[in-house]
């Protein structure tokens, strides 16, 4: 069976903050490939100087430069401008909607930005965005089922323990559960394939001993 390479794209700050609070950012390297992070997401993660996850994320981003690709979007300039307006108190919600705009820009340009033959697996905790805005050319996955799948492959001991750790550190992971395949066109216009992101996990040595279907 032909498999499509996976590119993991972190499209909102939620999964990064959650993994930072659980001290599990390493899980983002599950696919042994560079992780793509939108510039606006990076800026969002590093904005609050008093947030407990900020230093963890700053260190993680700084010490894994070879494995993390920051996607430069045209939205970063208005985002930074809006951030300044928020910081001065001029407009308290000036950045609202700009994160969503950055994701929309990414989805429209996914093939150009990532490897053209790679499938983008978009990790998000944002339900309305994942359900309604993300296009069918990307596979949408939320934090909870991602962790549960890692558990199901024996790559972590317990998804619930990771979620509890995040909660102990003051954050409740969204209840959003999505694992929506991308639609991959084939040479036959009447036939399309659905993406499946688990193959790289199955190749790892774990408690389950590899894929069996």
């Amino acid at each position: 069976m032909k498999t499509t390479p996976i590119t993991l794209v972190v499209a909102d700050a939620g999964p990064l903050i959650s993994m930072a609070l659980a001290n599990q950012l390493k899980l983002l390297f599950t696919f042994d490939k560079p992780v793509y992070v939108l510039d606006v997401v990076k800026a969002e993660c590093l904005r609050k100087s008093d947030a407990p996850d900020r230093e963890i994320l700053r260190n993680w981003l700084g010490s894994n430069e070879s494995q993390i690709s920051i996607i430069n979007s045209p939205i970063i300039k208005p985002f930074n401008d809006a951030l300044r307006l928020e910081e001065t108190g001029e407009q308290p919600h000036a950045t609202q909607g700009l994160g969503d705009a950055a994701i929309a820009w990414f989805v429209a340009n996914a093939r150009r930005i990532c490897a053209p033959d790679a499938l983008s697996l978009v990790l998000t905790e944002d339900a309305p965005f994942g359900d309604t805005v993300l296009a069918r050319n990307v596979h949408v996955l939320s934090t909870r089922p991602w962790l549960k799948t890692l558990e199901n492959f024996g790559l972590i001991v317990s998804a619930q323990d990771v979620l509890k750790q995040i909660e102990l550190n003051g954050r409740k992971v969204s209840r959003y559960n999505v694992d929506r395949p991308a639609i991959i066109p084939t040479t036959n216009p009447n036939k399309s394939l659905k993406s499946d992101w688990k193959a790289p996990l199955a190749k790892k040595p774990s408690g389950r001993g590899g894929i069996d279907d």
């Binding site: 042994d32 199901n152 492959f153 972590i156 999505v178 694992d179 929506r180 688990k198 069996d212 279907d213």
Partner: protein, 97 residues
């Protein structure tokens, strides 16, 4: 240097589901195909109620089945027959009074 995920060992005695039931989409698809029960789907997905399970299916583009599978049809038939019999007994008991 991050720790490779493969270095995290599965716990001793950890029971892992088959690989074809490892992802949320796989589990929801199997549930809607009648291959596993909703209770198994809840356990495998870590979702704690039926409403969220249906919501996950909708979000994940898993088609919700409305027709009953044979096993469900048999249960529905048996329950229907039991209710009809109970009603009949109730009716005849009250008419005797």
């Amino acid at each position: 240097m991050p720790i490779a995920v493969s270095q995290i060992p599965a716990s001793k005695g950890q029971v892992l589901p088959p690989a074809n039931l490892a992802t949320l989409n796989d589990i929801l698809t199997a549930w809607q195909a009648g291959k596993i029960s909703y209770r198994q789907a809840l356990e495998l997905t870590g979702i704690d109620n039926l409403f969220d399970l249906y919501q996950a299916a909708i979000s994940s583009d898993v088609k919700i089945r409305t027709a009953l599978i044979p096993r469900e049809q048999r249960i529905a038939d048996a329950v229907t027959a039991a209710i009809k019999a109970a009603r009949k007994n109730q009716t005849s008991a009250s008419s005797k009074k």
